[in-house]
Structure formats: structure tokens, C-alpha cells
């Protein structure tokens, strides 16, 4: 049983990383907490489904198109809504949360409920890992998660745009003084976060059926991971995802499966009590010391 916890705890942790990374990247660079994350997630899945099932597009093309559309939507959201609210944090939260709810409830209203909304797994079948059977789709998610982290590291440290992203994240005014356009970078960070969100939807949703309510669940999970790890820290996301993933797996195996949904929220509460900026968070560190 312990091996099962080890294997599925690892997989579930990577799934949490995938789900939370887009949210964290966006906040880390533009300081926008994108609460429409859950809406974009479900929309990414639905666009892929629509392209694949209704338009008969090849799976890969449909997935790429949906990821790009969601990325464009993220950029558009910044350009049309968030740029006007810059600095008004509460208004940003209200605006993105409202948009997320509008997307999800609109999808529900348009008839996205039922069991036909399912994207097939990329490769059917299973393999044994440490004697535990695991579906190949979950293996693909783990590989994609690892690849995404490597690409992200390369992008942020070795590309001009990545360095610009870091510049704006560290000190927006200084970045401006060296010719970096913070608005453009923030817009691109929204696009990038949305792309990651859609990518996670394309990879994870084939495990089940696309449902509107999943958008709300995903938002809570992403929020929990980011708050525990530190909202702007990629390393924090990684560590927090593994903490939550393994506590969930252990709870499900040795205590009660019905408590698994409580785990992320309980962890978040504990962290908010003892270290409000999260394990690797920096923004409130000085305030906390005071």
C-alpha cells in the first residue's frame, strides 16, 4: 500500500504543479491574481473537445488551437480589463473572479453538462511502476510537467523575454527605466499563465469528463498550492504541490478518502496562520518580521 501512496502521491503532486503553475507565473510577474483560472481551464478543455469531436480536427491541432485561444483570451483580459484596474488589487480580484464565474456559468447555460464532454486519453493502456498499475495518460502528465518546468527555467533564465519578465517581477519601475514595457510584459505573463492553464486542461481532463464544477475545484487547488508555496515562487509551487499531493494520498489511504478535499484548505489555513506569505513567499516577509 505504501508503494501505491508513493506512486500516486507523486503523480497527483505533479498534477497539482501543472494546475497551479499558470496562476503562480501570472501573479509572480504581473501581480495579478487571476481568479478566472478555473474558467480558462474548463474552456481549454471544451475548445479541445469542440475541435476534436465537432470539427473533426486532429487531436494535436485541436489542443494547440485551444491553448493558443486561451492564451489570447488571457492577453485580451489584461488589455481590455486589467490594465484599467492596475494597482487596484481588490478590483482586479473582483474582475477576474467575475469573468471566471461568467465563463463557467455561461458554459453551463450553453449545455455543458452530461457525460459526452470527454477528451480521449492520448495513449490508452497502463504500465506497472513499483508494482502499481498506472495509466499511460498519468505518465504523460508527469513527463509533460517535468518538461514544462525545464522549459520554464530555460525561458526565465536564458531568453531576453524571460529576463524582461524577471525584471518586471523584481522591480517594475527599474525595468521601465531600462526600456522594458511593464504593460506588455504583464500582458504576456497573463497570456503565458493562461497557456499553462489550458495546457494542464488538455493533459489532465482526459482522465475524466469535462464538467463546469471542475473549474471551481481547480481554482481552489491552484490557490491553495500558491498560498502554501508562496504566491510568486515557482519553487514554492513545486514544494507545496508535493506537500499537498502526498498528504492527500496518505489521508486517502490511511485515514479517510472523504477528507482529501479538506487537505488543501487545511494546509492553506495552517500556513496562513504561521507564515502568511507562504513557505517561499517574499512579499510580506518584512511585514511578518515587524
Amino acid at each position: 500500500m505504501f508503494l501505491s501512496v508513493l506512486v500516486y502521491g507523486f503523480i497527483n503532486s505533479v498534477i497539482l504543479v501543472m494546475v497551479a503553475l499558470g496562476f503562480s507565473i501570472t501573479f509572480g510577474i504581473s501581480r495579478v491574481a487571476n481568479f478566472s483560472h478555473g474558467g480558462f481551464y474548463v474552456l481549454g478543455g471544451i475548445f479541445t473537445w469542440y475541435g476534436l469531436i465537432k470539427m473533426d480536427l486532429p487531436y494535436f491541432l485541436s489542443a494547440i488551437l485551444s491553448i493558443l485561444i486561451i492564451g489570447a483570451l488571457g492577453a485580451l483580459m489584461y488589455r481590455v480589463v486589467l490594465v484599467r484596474l492596475k494597482g487596484l488589487e481588490l478590483s482586479e480580484v473582483i474582475a477576474t473572479l467575475s469573468l471566471g464565474i461568467v465563463i463557467l456559468e455561461l458554459l453551463r447555460g450553453l449545455g455543458v453538462f452530461g457525460y459526452e464532454f470527454r477528451n480521449p486519453v492520448f495513449i490508452d493502456g497502463s504500465v506497472d511502476i513499483l508494482g502499481v498499475g498506472v495509466g499511460i495518460q498519468r505518465i504523460i502528465i508527469v513527463c509533460a510537467g517535468a518538461l514544462l518546468l525545464i522549459l520554464l527555467h530555460f525561458f526565465v533564465h536564458h531568453t531576453k523575454m524571460g529576463l524582461a519578465f524577471r525584471g518586471v517581477a523584481q522591480q517594475e519601475h527599474t525595468a521601465l527605466s531600462v526600456g522594458i514595457n511593464p504593460n506588455l510584459v504583464s500582458m504576456l505573463s497573463l497570456a503565458m499563465g493562461s497557456i499553462m492553464c489550458a495546457l494542464s486542461a488538455v493533459l489532465i481532463l482526459p482522465l475524466g469528463v469535462i464538467s463546469v464544477d471542475e473549474g471551481y475545484d481547480i481554482l481552489i487547488k491552484a490557490l491553495a498550492v500558491c498560498i502554501i508555496g508562496g504566491l510568486e515562487s515557482t519553487i514554492g509551487v513545486l514544494v507545496a504541490a508535493f506537500i499537498i499531493g502526498y498528504i492527500e494520498a496518505l489521508t486517502s489511504m490511511y485515514i479517510s478518502s472523504s477528507l482529501t478535499s479538506v487537505v488543501p484548505l487545511a494546509c492553506m489555513l495552517v500556513i496562513l496562520l504561521i507564515r502568511p506569505s507562504g513557505i517561499f513567499g517574499k512579499s510580506k516577509e518584512i511585514e511578518e518580521r515587524v
Binding site: 452530461g114 470527454r118 464538467s211 478518502s257
Partner: protein
């Protein structure tokens, strides 16, 4: 010499006026006559307050519409000396959506009653506690209703004050799931010696209620229940239950789920090669399209159709007739609960109105109690204002249990009166 009469100009004008007046009177008479003889009496309004973002309720509304279209096509309902058409008025109560308060769902019910003035209600709220609260509303407005929530306390509430709740009737009860699947477990025990089960259930009142009932059944019948795990709605990893079931050598995994993610459970069952049979209720695997959606992974799964009429039963023609009519009108039927009993509910209500010869709610309720008709789900009759379910569709309404078999065929295996095949072990147990 001929005599010619000429009409003076004044005479002509008088004649013209008289003709005009006669014409006007004739037109008025014609209009009145046509109005009196051809005006259709107002339709009988069937209210359908439910949570239509739930796939079961939405498919149920389609079945109600189908029944109404059929009845109207035959000239409508005979009420006393006149024929009246049926009209469906539905309202979205949102009671199955997360976070929607009971009061809001009740408000939607009352809005329907006050604005659309339904004569009767079919299907009713989806969530059990909303139905129990709505019973007071229906009693207050004296509206005959045949409801369809799987509320385990409906009969208790009815019995607590039969006079007050005399207009409230109900279609399905969760206890019939336990009864039906209990018989399937008996068959598996007899056939293969299975005696070890693991219960995996969605953490929702209705599902846990059924699972508790099944747990009691297992214990009363000498089975060993190795585990009883509840999963929150939205869970996407069931590996802990499956590994525990596998290690304990469980032969039957008993699932009760209607959340979309529950399809993952069956995929993990195959991925983890758990040598046990799945027998219970997994809503996403219900419709004939599930094979296309999930593929061969669902082969061997045993699923219960709450209302047998939702399966095209070859051995019970009314069920097949309904299923074919439904799929012809609406396409694929995705669910195993609500459409057939809702369809039967419309016919039961209409016949009660015809027997009563009026729309008086007390008379309709009295006639509903006497219902005894052949329906898509079996013979429809009430005990304690509740459809009676049994094993033979010629005697009672039935639930039907089927098994997914090679090639994507849903083969009925229970009750014996409609069974078309026997239970087969899934590939992981062979």
C-alpha cells in the same frame, strides 16, 4: 304594355342601409358563433420545476415533453365533456447546483405555481431535501404532484400527515436500488461464490444512503465488507480504495456515483488490474454512448438502471417502445434515472384526470391512488403514494441491471423476467 318599376334614389339608400345592417349583424353573428364553437378550452398546465443542469432532470423533461406531444397528437385529455390539450411549463430551480440554498429552489417552485398556475406537477425538485420542503408548498396550493427525487424520507413525511400531503406522490425510492442490486449479489454469490465486497461511494446524501442500505444488506447476508470509502464530489484519484480492495482480495467493488469524474474510477480499475467485478451505479457509464466515450475499459461493469424503462428491454415491449420513441425524438438517452418514470407519470396523471372528469385536485389525488396501468417502467401503481417496484414488469415497476459486454452491448441480467444474458466475470478475474 309592360310595367316597369323604378326605385327612387331615396328608396335605394334605405335599401342599401338595411343591407349594410344585415351584413354587419351577420358578420357579428358569424364571429360569435365561430368564437363559441371553435375556441379551444385552455390547456391543462403541467408544471415541471427541477434542476435542469442535472442531466437526469434534463432528460426527464424531454420524456415529459414526449408524453405530452403524444397525448396532444391524439386529441388531448378528456375532462368531463371536453377535450383539453396539455402544456408543459418548466422552471429552473438550480437545486442540484453546488451552493444553491434550499430557499432559492423553493422560491422557484412558488414562482412557477403563482405565475404559470400549473394544474399538476410532474418530476418536481431533484434534490431530496428540496422535495421534502416543497411537499408543504404543494399541499398549501393543493397541486397534485408525482415527484421524482430519490428522497429516502418521502414516505415517512407522507405518512406523518396523509391528509395534508394527499396530493403528493413519488416515483422512485433509493431502497429499490438496494433491493435490485442485492438480488444481483445473490446471483454472483450463487454462481461464483463471491462473498467479499468493497463499497466506494460519492459523498452525497442520496449516494451514502444507498451505500448504507447496501452495507446493511451485505452484513445481513453473510458478506464481508472490507472497506467503505466516501469520495468528495470532484475527486479524480481512487487508487487508495482500489489498492486496498486488491490487497484484500475483494471480489466485488460496489460503487455509487453520479459525478462526471467517476468514470476515472473504472479506468483506474483497469489500469491497476484489480481482479474484482464492478457492480453498482456509475452514472457516466449509463448511456449507450458510454462505450464510445470510455471504450473497452468498461467491459464487465454492472450498472443499475433505476427505472427499467430507460433500457430497451426486448422482453418488455413497452420499455423498448418508449426507449425507441425517446431516442427518435431526442437522440441518445444518457441516463438511467428519471425519463421513463417521468413519462409514465404524465400518463398516470392524465388518466387520473380523465377518470376524475375534472381538474379538482382532491378528485385527481383520489384517482391517482387507484392508478393501475401498463407503463414503460412496468405496471404503475402506488402504495403509500409511492410507485411500487418489484421483479416483474407485468406486476410492478422494475429497476433493471445490465452488464457491459464485448462490442459495447448493454445486456440486461436482472430481473429474470427481462434478463437477456448472465453475469460474466470481467477479464481481470478470468
Amino acid at each position: 304594355m309592360g310595367c316597369t318599376k323604378t326605385i327612387s334614389k331615396e328608396g335605394f339608400m334605405i335599401l342599401w342601409k338595411i343591407l349594410c345592417r344585415i351584413t354587419l349583424v351577420l358578420i357579428a353573428l358569424l364571429f360569435l358563433a365561430s368564437h363559441v364553437s371553435f375556441a379551444a378550452p385552455p390547456p391543462i398546465v403541467i408544471g415541471v420545476p427541477s434542476s435542469f443542469k442535472s442531466i437526469e432532470a434534463s432528460e426527464g423533461l424531454k420524456a415529459i415533453t414526449l408524453a405530452v406531444e403524444e397525448i396532444n397528437a391524439k386529441g388531448g385529455v378528456k375532462v368531463g365533456n371536453e377535450k383539453r390539450m396539455l402544456k408543459v411549463e418548466s422552471i429552473e430551480t438550480r437545486d442540484m447546483e453546488p451552493g444553491v440554498p434550499l430557499a432559492d429552489a423553493l422560491l422557484a417552485n412558488e414562482k412557477l405555481i403563482l405565475e404559470k398556475k400549473p394544474h399538476v406537477i410532474i418530476q418536481g425538485p431533484t434534490r431530496s431535501e428540496v422535495l421534502l420542503a416543497a411537499m408543504d408548498l404543494y399541499a398549501q396550493y393543493k397541486i397534485p404532484s408525482i415527484n421524482n427525487a430519490v428522497a429516502s424520507k418521502f414516505v415517512d413525511q407522507y405518512k406523518s400527515n396523509p391528509e395534508k400531503y394527499r396530493h403528493c406522490f413519488r416515483m422512485f425510492d433509493g431502497k429499490y436500488v438496494v433491493a435490485g442490486l442485492g438480488k444481483v449479489m445473490e446471483k454472483m454469490n450463487k454462481e461464483y461464490g463471491f462473498k467479499k465486497a468493497y463499497i466506494v461511494v460519492q459523498d452525497a446524501i442520496w449516494a451514502v444512503g444507498i451505500a448504507n442500505g447496501m452495507n446493511a444488506w451485505y452484513k445481513a447476508n453473510g458478506w464481508e465488507v472490507v472497506g467503505f470509502d466516501k469520495y468528495p464530489t470532484g475527486a479524480s484519484d481512487f487508487s487508495s480504495s482500489l489498492i486496498k480492495a486488491k490487497n484484500a482480495g475483494v471480489q466485488v467493488v460496489f460503487p455509487i456515483f453520479d459525478m462526471p469524474q467517476s468514470g476515472i474510477l473504472v479506468q483506474q480499475w483497469k489500469d491497476m488490474k484489480v481482479p474484482a467485478i464492478f457492480a453498482g451505479f456509475i452514472s457516466p457509464l449509463m448511456g449507450s454512448n458510454a462505450w464510445k466515450t470510455f471504450g473497452e475499459k468498461i467491459e464487465g461493469v454492472i450498472n443499475i438502471v433505476f427505472d427499467g424503462g430507460n433500457l430497451p428491454l426486448e422482453k418488455y415491449p413497452p420499455a423498448k417502445k418508449f426507449y425507441d420513441a425517446f431516442t427518435k425524438r431526442w437522440g441518445e438517452m444518457q441516463v438511467g434515472h428519471k425519463p421513463a418514470v417521468d413519462y409514465d407519470g404524465v400518463y398516470a396523471m392524465v388518466r387520473a384526470i380523465e377518470r376524475a372528469g375534472s381538474l379538482d385536485p382532491d378528485k385527481i389525488a383520489k384517482e391517482l391512488e387507484k392508478t393501475n396501468m401498463v407503463g414503460a417502467t412496468g405496471r404503475i401503481h402506488f402504495a403509500d403514494h409511492q410507485y411500487v417496484f418489484g421483479d416483474d414488469p407485468k406486476v410492478d415497476a422494475i429497476s433493471a441491471v445490465y452488464q457491459w459486454k464485448k462490442g459495447g452491448k448493454r445486456v440486461p441480467i436482472y430481473p429474470d423476467s427481462v434478463a437477456e444474458g448472465v453475469i460474466e466475470k470481467p477479464a481481470s478475474m478470468k
